[in-house]
């Protein structure tokens, strides 16, 4: 016992030595962490880098046995080439039309529904809401089969309508916004009632400004959804007049291996990716907020 006690007593020198060791360990660990994170970051970024430099190379340079990491000459004409090859102008136009209209309509529907669920009292409210939430469990493919038949029978195939209408209601967005609306104290609604504010004015003047961050998140995710959607558009509106950007890109460059003109293809990919980067750069906060609560992609 007595010996153990003396062991526990450290001298200043020992303490300094231990501290020094700890500090060296700390620095070594930090260095390793930074090295690891840097390597991972490079791996994550590499495809983007490769896309951009490839899009600026000449075909000859791209096909060199030993690839170059920086273009010898810059071929911006690849972009012009890509634009015409893939009909990007039409695709952009279609996607913007579908994206904007569906976002606006979807926001209106979501706001009205969320308001009803958050603020109004009616019979069967809770049952209805629970039912809506339950549909979120079902994979979308299950709906697609019938919806494909439905829109075919309605004669909606190859129209903008078919790209917009079936996806206007998102139970998840209604849920998200309802939660947001519920955080607004009920007294604000009562105060507005006392002043004779109509429900719609109250929504517009109070609820919407107070829920703006969520609405922005929904808008961005919805727009990104239109930009990235592939399966449904290919199924129901695969004609040139209504084709959306992702589908068009894939269609224009069917070959992914073999002797394709990669620089032009990469230029097209870069053009399609660029708006997303802009959105990411300026609205990252809203995307991350929306995503962390949803787990849905676009």
């Amino acid at each position: 016992m007595a010996k153990k006690n003396t062991d526990l007593i450290m001298h200043d020198k020992d303490i300094r030595a231990v501290k020094g060791k700890a500090r060296i360990g700390e620095i070594a660990a930090k260095t390793l962490i930074y090295i690891f994170l840097t390597v991972m970051a490079v791996i994550v970024l590499f495809p983007f880098y490769w896309m951009i430099i490839s899009s600026l190379k000449s075909l000859e340079e791209y096909r060199l046995t030993v690839p170059t990491f920086w273009p010898k000459t810059f071929h911006f004409d690849n972009y012009a080439n890509a634009f015409s090859t893939a009909n990007l102008a039409t695709l952009f136009k279609n996607t913007v039309i579908v994206g904007v209209i569906s976002t606006i309509l979807s926001l209106v529907i979501t706001v009205l529904s969320a308001f009803a669920f958050a603020r109004l009292e009616f019979k069967g409210k809770n049952v209805l809401f629970a039912g809506l939430l339950a549909t979120m469990m079902i994979p979308g493919e299950l709906f697609t089969i019938t919806n494909y038949a439905t829109v075919s029978q309605l004669g909606w195939k190859s129209t903008y309508t078919v790209l917009i209408v079936p996806f206007l209601v998102s139970v998840f967005y209604i849920y998200l916004l309802r939660q947001n609306f519920l955080q607004v104290p009920n007294e604000l609604y009562l105060a507005a009632k006392v002043d004779g504010t109509k429900d719609l004015k109250y929504l517009w003047k109070v609820m919407i400004p107070l829920s703006l961050p969520t609405l922005i998140s929904i808008t961005i995710l919805k727009m990104m959804g239109a930009w990235n959607s592939y399966i449904w558009p290919r199924l129901v509106a695969n004609d040139l007049a209504h084709r959306l950007i992702t589908n068009g890109l894939r269609n224009a460059f069917q070959d992914t291996s073999g002797n394709t003109d990669y620089p032009v293809q990469m230029a097209a990919v870069a053009i399609v990716s660029f708006p997303l980067f802009l959105v990411f750069l300026f609205l990252r906060k809203y995307i991350m907020k929306g995503v962390s609560r949803s787990g849905i992609k676009g």
Partner: protein
């Protein structure tokens, strides 16, 4: 504008699906609020005072009964047609609007003949702001204001439409003690200046007593007593009202009446002429109703003496007391001798109230 409540009743359907029991929030409330007075609705939580306020505002519909503003029956009118101003407990200021926008908001809803020009609206908003002395804060957002300032903004927003009736729901409960005192005076001043009939709800009896012209004491949806604060304090009509008003609270003993004499324990403490014999009565004695006297009939064991300056508070115990201690307020000059173990009291008859042992109703003598 006088406000008349006629047999006002509000029954909430049961929330619990299993028991069909309904909740009577307000039961048969009959009352006339005189023009230009400040009325306090007072009671413990769940007594129906807030429900009454919401029914006057029109946010809730009464199950039965009528509400009149002056001669107009407003029972079926929506809130905005009644000409009321309502201040909520948490103020309910719109967080994204400035003070000015908040005060302007009610005016912007006016339609038709009431519609105002922009200049008039701003003028009126500034007048309301000046009245509550926040005209220097007009461009701030609510979260940049203190609790007291937010309260004033809420009052200004309620007043800006020149309401016929001003309603305040627990206006002071979110303020700290110092601000509460200050705001209390402020509400009194504003009410006097504007002469608007004002109803406010509170669970704090001191608050209600200090500023109301009339107080209404409620319990479980039933009005217990209505009157000027001093009248209610001096002459409670039942044990609940007696216990609810006054700090320190009234001392309650069990006693009996025999041959027109009131007994607490074995001691005959007071003559009660005209009171029938009774095995059990409740005796309420206000703390200021005790006089120390060597020959006093009521003997209590001293527990401690709290010095309060001018007065002392003698804390003692008695077997028949329903409170853990008997608290009496005594002039400092007459305080019991230090070290004394017991004290004897005479009772001031007008500070003693008798209540029936069953119904808890006042027995007058």
């Amino acid at each position: 504008m006088k406000v008349v409540l006629q047999n006002l009743t509000k029954i909430f359907p049961s929330r619990n699906k299993k028991s069909k029991e309904e909740v009577v929030a307000v039961n048969d409330f009959d009352f006339e609020i005189p023009d230009g007075k400040l009325v306090g609705l007072l009671g413990p939580s769940g007594c129906g005072k807030s429900t009454t306020l919401y029914m006057i505002s029109g946010l809730q519909k009464p199950t039965s009964g009528r509400i009149f503003f002056g001669e107009d029956d407003v029972t079926d009118l929506p809130p905005e047609k009644r000409g009321i101003g309502l201040v909520f407990q948490n103020y309910a200021l719109y967080p994204h609007m400035t003070v000015k926008q908040n005060i302007l908001f009610p005016l912007q809803n006016l339609k038709g003949a009431d519609k105002m020009t922009k200049e008039d609206m701003i003028k009126q908003a500034y007048e309301a702001a000046k009245l509550v002395q926040i005209d220097n804060l007009m461009d701030r957002k609510p979260n940049e204001l203190s609790g007291g300032q937010q309260q004033r903004v809420a009052i200004a927003r309620a007043l800006v439409k020149m309401p016929r009736v001003l309603l305040l729901d627990e206006p002071l409960s979110n303020l700290d003690a110092r601000l509460r005192l200050q705001t209390r005076e402020e509400i009194r001043r504003i009410q006097r200046e504007t002469k608007i009939t004002t109803v406010f709800v509170t669970h704090d009896q001191e608050e209600a007593m200090s500023i109301s012209d009339v107080i209404v004491v409620m319990k479980l949806g039933v009005v217990q007593q209505i009157g000027a604060p001093q009248d209610v304090y001096d002459s409670p009509e039942n044990l609940f009202v007696a216990k609810f008003l006054g700090t320190p609270p009234i001392n309650v003993f069990t006693g009996r009446v025999e041959a027109e004499k009131l007994y607490i324990g074995d001691a005959a403490v007071l003559d009660v002429p005209g009171v029938k014999d009774s095995e059990k009565v409740f005796v309420g004695v206000r703390p200021e109703g005790f006089i120390i006297n060597e020959n006093g009939p009521l003997e209590c064991r001293i527990f401690g003496v709290d010095v309060m300056g001018r007065d002392v508070s003698v804390v003692s115990t008695h077997e028949a007391s329903l409170n853990p201690t008997v608290r009496s307020i005594i002039d400092a000059d007459n305080r019991p001798a230090p070290g004394a173990e017991t004290v004897r009291f005479l009772l001031k008859p007008h500070k003693v109230f008798l209540f029936d042992g069953e119904t808890e109703k006042r027995i007058y003598f």
